[in-house]
Homo-oligomer: 219 residues x 2
DNA sequence: TCTCATTTGTTGCAATTGCAACATTATTTT
DNA sequence: AAAATAATGTTGCAATTGCAACAAATGAGA
């Protein structure tokens, strides 16, 4: 059972999905699925697999808007998916429950206990998304690559409490996430290494500084 | 009646607020109110006035995280307000209803109609916030000042359908929003003017290009 | 209306960054 | 295991940007 249905027993889950006219889709790995859902305000609940939402510029470069893992949700109300620039790609064989957002938010299910529970679950997903986006904004508003990296490290440190950071994605994706040129980021990481602030082994980065360090003065 | 209580009559509104142990605060203009709410997960509903949420760096510069207008909501779940770097400043005499987020999300009010309605209203606020944050991220991920400006203009254009953009804030604040140096932005605006793509009169910017224009090639 | 404070415009300069191109190392596929 | 593909490291160079400093314009308050 996914978190989206927490507090709703299986029987009511089925009732709920019928009520919301939900559809279950099964996609193969590396499918572009946006075309199948484009024209509606929808919520997708990923019950198996995971997806990447990307946006491509006219010059061809592509940016990851977000990755949505198993058990998580996505939708037109979370990312604007309506332009042709967007793609939703399954990175594994993926199952998705699609729900019409407008139907969900309509007022027709007033006395339905599990409906309210579901809304509340959605609410919690959405507040989590907001926090993720806030983090990204805090990083993106930093004016130098160095400070973007340090802000990213800070956030990871606060989350895990550990000075060992395991990148959840490649360095290419990190550059993308920070919205900087990959090679320029690579250069800056090298600087930080040479100045003794960090160590890097594969995707594991070790922070060798603390709050009192001189590196914090600029931030 | 604020949108937060849409679909809830006044009597039930009062019941709801009592149930949620809501407090109403009255602040004078230019008060720093964060200290009064810091330690809880809270939602604030602004019934009168408006506020600015800012974050200051160690070097003293301050960034506007968001402006929250009358009728809108804010809270620890929307912006992380827990660090000392944040400030919430009232820009007018302001009334705020404070609600404990954890209490709101608890499961004790199962059969309460207006409670569910309220959650749903909050849900819609929050999805709107997400979309605002998505917009900002799309802007911030642009790699040049020019492209940030153009992306900003695009978004404003899409919202209003008009080529006349009235800046809702000062150019200083715009630089802040785009996370670029003000003078560098000013320089770039001048370039765009001289190349004939825009006109500027005070806070009114006119777009002199369209989708087919060469200016779009890079974007 | 005058004064003071804030915002906006401008410019030179140094530092940072993006870009392109290529070498090297990992990873995946056959 | 070999070959193909993808990711990472590196560097020079030109373009962009941030920073600082100051002038001009605008707006707010006395």
């Amino acid at each position: 059972m996914t978190k989206a249905f927490e507090g709703i027993n299986e029987k009511n889950q089925k009732k709920l999905l019928r009520m919301l006219e939900a559809n279950v889709y099964h996609y193969k790995k590396n499918s572009n699925i946006l075309s199948t859902i484009k024209n509606v305000n929808m919520i997708g609940i990923i019950t198996k697999g995971y997806i990447q939402i990307t946006r491509s510029n006219d010059n061809g470069s592509r940016t990851i808007i977000e990755e949505v893992e198993e058990e998580e949700i996505f939708g037109t109300f979370i990312s604007s998916l309506k332009s042709k620039d967007y793609e939703i790609i399954t990175k594994e064989d993926t199952d998705i429950i699609m729900i019409d957002y407008d139907l969900l938010i309509q007022n027709n299910f007033r006395n339905c206990e599990y409906y309210h529970q579901f809304i509340k679950n959605m609410f919690e997903f959405v507040t989590k998304k907001i926090q993720e986006k806030n983090e990204r904004i805090e990083i993106l508003t930093q004016k130098s690559i160095r400070n973007k990296l340090l802000e990213y490290f800070n956030i990871m440190f606060k989350k895990t409490g550990s000075k060992y950071i395991y990148l959840p994605f490649t360095f290419m994706d990190l550059a993308d996430y920070l919205a900087v040129d990959r090679s320029a980021m690579s250069r800056e990481l090298k600087n930080l290494k040479e100045e003794g602030f960090i160590e890097i082994k594969g995707k594991k980065i070790t922070l060798c500084y603390d709050k009192n360090s001189s590196i914090y003065m600029g931030l």
